[in-house]
Symmetry: C2
Subunit: 194 residues, 2 copies
DNA sequence: CGTCTATTTGAATGTACTCAAAAGCGGTGG
DNA sequence: CCACCGCTTTTGAGTACATTCAAATAGACG
């Protein structure tokens, strides 16, 4: 029982072995290829996903056709279109693999059953939720406060292999700038560091 | 038992009367004057607050001295510096009353006790957390996608009495623009509605 | 009434975008 | 294995959006 998903659970709550078994059996392991969609906008997000390995992108498409990346989900992250997952209404996001990845999926139905049998899981997902909330709040503050250059530098600092693994187009769509501007910014990067 | 805070609880979970009693007795009612700080940056947020009436502002002060408003908290909202409240580390936000207000405070210590006695409360706060997360995500998307004018119009649309109750300076700090620009924007408001 | 803060106005500047075109790169099929 | 196609990245010119700074005006509050 030394799987990453179990370790992740152990960081926040303690389960007995029966509970572990129950939790573990509610998950389905999936290997997915690059470009696979786990969630599509308009469809209902039936599951939430724990990423065992690989890299995925959660994004929206605006009316004007431009894509906006909500987040890049890496190893040891839980990810879904939460709005759709919890409300079981059509998703607004796409969730797509940027690399071949391994994920554990947990369906809404299974999770609701688990909540009844293991109330401690409410705590687990509440804590995950809180952490996500706090980091989102930071992002809002950053968007309001920092220049694009600053945000770009902070991003590659927090995520050093981003440049290797993610296209500039996608990085730009996460930073909220155009790919063209990101390109010109990189040229002048060393010059101005406000 | 027809208090607003109880109604709010009832929207998401059902408690029996003993549990209600317990929950209710963990809360403290406070009347606060305009400009009162419930949380100050640097101090530890010992409580989370349910707003029975009035209006509060949650904000940060940047290194350069400018204020950034995270949110305006109205009647029937739960608000705190969640980072500080959960981690019990120094807060990054200020929480200040913009109007004379009535709040219910729930301390971290009391809440942890409640979680043990009433596991269903984990669910309640998880749901609140989710909703907050979803609306934050919308805000990030809006910041990336929409023009300032659009965001301003959407804001006063969602919060029609904002103009009455909140200074322009504070609205600007919520929208992430300068008060000067908000001022010039309002002049031309009717002209361009992209 | 006077003081302090918020709002308005305007000029100059900077940041980021749009549009267009060229160059680079990766994957696929022959 | 190479050539081609399609997508990504670069580059540049012109423009729009938003900021800074400064100064005048208006409003709130003791």
């Amino acid at each position: 029982m030394d799987e990453l998903v179990v370790k992740n659970l152990n960081r926040h709550i303690r389960l007995n072995s029966a509970e572990f078994e129950l939790f573990r059996n509610s998950l389905k392991f999936k290997k997915i290829r690059k470009k696979t969609f786990l969630i599509k906008s308009g469809e209902i997000a039936k599951s939430t996903y724990f990423i065992n390995s690989g890299l995925l992108r959660l994004y929206q498409i605006q009316e004007d056709g431009t894509e906006k990346t909500a987040l890049f989900a890496q190893e040891e992250w839980w990810v879904s279109d939460l709005y759709s997952f919890y409300s079981q209404k059509p998703a607004v996001h796409f969730l797509q693999a940027l690399e071949p990845s391994e994920v554990w999926s947990l369906s809404k139905v299974q999770l609701e059953k688990l909540y009844l049998k293991i109330p401690k899981l409410e705590r687990f997902f509440r804590i995950l939720q809180q952490n996500a909330f706090i980091s989102q709040n930071e992002r809002i503050m950053d968007m309001m406060t920092k220049s694009s250059t600053r945000r770009y530098l902070d991003f590659i600092n927090k995520f050093p292999d981003a440049e290797m693994r993610i296209s500039q187009k996608h990085i730009a769509s996460f930073l909220g700038i155009t790919p063209e501007f990101l390109s010109t910014m990189k040229k002048n990067k060393i010059l101005n560091l406000p």
